[in-house]
């Protein structure tokens, strides 16, 4: 069984000008990505931000849906949002997986630009079959810093179609990548 963890990273990422920033959390990212994660059997969904006010905001949203009125209104949403754990940093998320699995997860960055270290979707899909834990990282804003990408174990190939345009939202990218890595045959 694939043993996949995912993280939505708000720092370190870059802005439009390539400067290192901390991005704000987007409410619908929490919903869409946790629903996709639950659909495809992802083990945990880490929301990574070092900012305490952003962490409090995420916790408030999650609590509404898993303990508050949202849980009664829509229990399916509760099942999805329960996958969320808030983390200060990617390192903290890696440590969290280590504690659960007793193995350090292999880290895989995703990116919309092709890179030299890229591994393909079929290759990663096969690697996941080993049962070894993997942590797949998704960047917000204009994506990860170069530094972050050179520090991960792998870099996943970008999603490309025949159009030359690949400006998907992170919500779309997560959904497509989980389907490619964990989806059933059609």
């Amino acid at each position: 069984m694939p043993n996949l963890y995912i993280a939505l990273v708000h720092h370190p990422v870059v802005n439009k000008c390539g400067e290192r920033i901390t991005a704000a959390v987007t409410n619908l990212d929490l919903h869409d990505i946790s629903r996709a994660a639950k659909t495809y059997g992802v083990r945990a969904f880490y929301v990574v931000t070092p900012l305490s006010d952003q962490k409090a905001l995420v916790q408030k949203i999650v609590d509404h849906w898993i303990k508050g009125k949202g849980a009664v209104y829509n229990p399916k949403r509760r099942d999805a949002l329960e996958l969320i754990t808030i983390m200060d940093s990617i390192d903290e998320a890696v440590d969290h997986v280590c504690k659960i699995e007793r193995y350090r997860p292999l880290t895989v960055a995703t990116c919309a630009r092709p890179g030299i270290k890229n591994i393909g979707f079929d290759q990663l899909r096969e690697m996941l079959q080993s049962g070894r834990p993997y942590l797949l990282l998704f960047g917000t804003a204009w994506g990860f810093t170069e530094e972050l990408m050179t520090g991960t174990d792998y870099l996943l190939a970008p999603i490309q179609a025949n159009t030359g345009y690949n400006h998907l939202s992170v919500r779309s990218a997560v959904s497509i990548i989980l389907d490619r890595l964990l989806g059933n045959s059609r």
Copy 2:
């Protein structure tokens, strides 16, 4: 070349209790779905609502990104949102495709529940290779009315993984379905 049109339908759809309603437009649906449509080479993205205030809202958002400050701030977003055309009804969208293509498109409803008329993803992917126009319909809120689904030419199989949970957002569902129908091999 596949000749695919998509429509995001806000009426007729059902609410949580199965009652026929008109759903409100969600801003991020416009962005995420037009970006996915542009990435996969979809011909047009119809936003279907009979409500004049909702049509005005969609037009205002689209104008901001294709003619207003948004077009200068992010031209890639402009390229995506240019795919949007607002329609009163599914029939009006069908007529619009007829005018462009001089053929009536075959209509395909999508649904999270399995049905007896379902066609598979590989089957529809192959049918699209004929170059004949197809109009793929996505429902908002709790999905289409039964009546609508029995009236389309085809009903696409639901996205399913091995978990038994398939409560994806419409943004995620559109992204995954376009990748399955039009995406490159991995």
